[in-house]
């Protein structure tokens, strides 16, 4: 039961850091909040026994992606204090309802799903005992190709949108 509450607290922390990430007007801080969100998510994954997924989440999402974000932010222009204040006001106005919406959705989901959550139900299957090699190269090789293509598209997309802009 204690473990269950730790997960719930971690989930709440996850939501809070995600909301902060959207609400905050300074891009670097938003990037850091995103990294914190990913880090909390990997802790949840560790606690649920998905060590491999947690390691990937921590290294790729909390590590690599944050580095990319922050290096991209470093290329942007710094706004004046007045502009920043204006942006902050605009952002707060636009997303003011977000925490309230999240609380309502969370409460509604809890209300509807709580009676149906069967904590005794065992996971139908898990990857426990499988080697990383077997999962990646034998079981999910199609996904691996798909992921490689997504990365290729991502790299190309960045080149199309940003490198050409620099030239201009």
């Amino acid at each position: 039961m204690g473990s269950f509450f730790i997960i719930v607290i971690l989930l709440l922390a996850l939501i809070v850091s995600a909301v902060v990430c959207v609400q905050i007007s300074v891009l670097v801080k938003a990037g850091i909040a995103l990294a914190v969100t990913s880090a909390i998510l990997s802790v949840i994954m560790f606690r649920l026994g998905a060590a491999l997924a947690a390691a990937f989440e921590l290294s790729v999402c909390a590590g690599l992606i944050t580095v990319i974000f922050i290096s991209a932010v470093s290329m942007t222009k710094i706004m004046s204090k007045e502009e920043l204040a204006e942006k902050r006001r605009e952002r707060n106005k636009r997303f003011a309802s977000l925490p309230a919406i999240l609380i309502v959705v969370f409460a509604a989901a809890l209300f509807f799903f709580w009676p149906h959550i069967d904590a005794t139900l065992p996971f139908a299957a898990s990857a426990q005992g499988d080697t990383v090699q077997n999962i990646l190269w034998n079981k999910r090789q199609v996904d691996l190709i798909g992921q490689a293509v997504i990365m290729l598209i991502g790299v190309y997309g960045v080149m199309v949108f940003f490198r050409e802009s620099d030239k201009e």
């Binding site: 799903f113 149906h116 996971f123 139908a124 299957a125 999910r140 090789q141 199609v142 996904d143 190709i145 798909g146 992921q147 293509v149 997504i150 290729l152 598209i153 991502g154 190309y156 997309g157 080149m159 199309v160 949108f161 050409e164 802009s165």
Partner: protein
Amino acid sequence: MPLLFIGVPLAAVLALNLAYKWINEKLALYTAAAVSLFQIGVSAVCIDLSLRGGTIYSLRFIEKLSIDTVSAVVLFTIGLTVFVSLIVSNATLKSGTFNFINMLLMITIGMNGLAMVTDLFSLYVFIEATSAASFVLIGINRGRDELEGAFKYYLMSAIATVLMMTSVALFFYYAGDTSFIGVSSFIAGLNGNYPYGLLTAFILYTAGLLIKSGVVPFHSWVLDTYSPAPAPVSVLLAGIVTKVSGVYAVIRITRNVFLNNAAVCNVLISLGLLSVIMGALAAIGQKDMKRMLAYSSISQIGYIMLGIGSGSALGLAGALFHFFNHSTFKSLLFVDTAAIEMQTGTRDMDKMGGLAQKMPVTGISSLLAFLSTAGIPPLSGFWSKLLIIVALWKVSAPVAVTALAAGILTLSYFLIMQKKVFFGKVPETLENVREAGGGILGAEILLSVINVAAGILFPLALIYMNSIGKI
């Protein structure tokens, strides 16, 4: 054989980029055209093989890809639409053709993978690849409206992604597997006593795919992405991308995973009918040609949903044929729009008139596409709508009659378009307008011929399928 559909475009992307110093835009264009023609040829062989011998599996390296008749038809349509998009890009894109061609090849890989996977998670992965490439393609010219359209598309895709990922997790939780066979046999074993979480998974996955399909009420993004996107990208999006990542996935999931579950089929019929009517009604009031075509797409995708929702083999055949037909006639209409915009500099139908005299090929091809969309015999759209209506009649006569009556709405908005754009007096500002060059005419003629030929030859295709015992 399935590996070819991923390997060949991937090899082309790598070759073009590794040797980019020695490759000019023309050579890149020819390479991509060769890849799409190769795909058209191989998928045509696959259609015949699958009709005769069932599913074609990959024997080496990637065993989890397969091609049946449905995926073979989809692969053929992908090849054809990509080829047409390349022709349009040659005529309309002034710069950045090399980037466009690379993205086109990558989106081809995404769509081909999507058409061949046999696993819910893999389906999600390739839908993501297709969406990511679409996002870049829509905003490739970096105009304000284009970037806004791309961002809206990205946001809607993200919502669909969340729904689908949650659903995949729930399926894995219950069935212990994410393969189509594993999940469907688990569902079949329940005999209709579905746990609450599994029902949630059904709803979430279907909702995610319906967002991707752009049916009512998930259609808001369609208008904002089709209209500002560059002409070859509009052709691609309306012609194939939304259909593969939304409609094809709905066909696959409804049939192979949910086993034509009655509740899911009822949802598809309801939303399909709503899309047919709302899309057509909204199209009537449009002034911008591309926006009108976007609403028309919502309406026509509604017909495909109705065919899938009927749950019968006849309905599926109708849906699949309408999938192909809609790709050809909607691509044709977008090519015509690109030609008109190139020559007149506007998409506002109120500023046009009498263009049939100035652009006769565009006028005739547009008329053929419109008659086919409205389901007038003997054009291809007639046969696919006929199959869908007959299949619907067996499920619900009122729905079939309503869908049939909605055809009048289709006729109305296209008649308005024809009258405003092609008939009447030519405005003084458009006196010097001529047919567009750069291969656009070729694309118009090619798609018109396919449209007419598919209609005339369809009875022969039925006889052929009958002779090999498929119907």
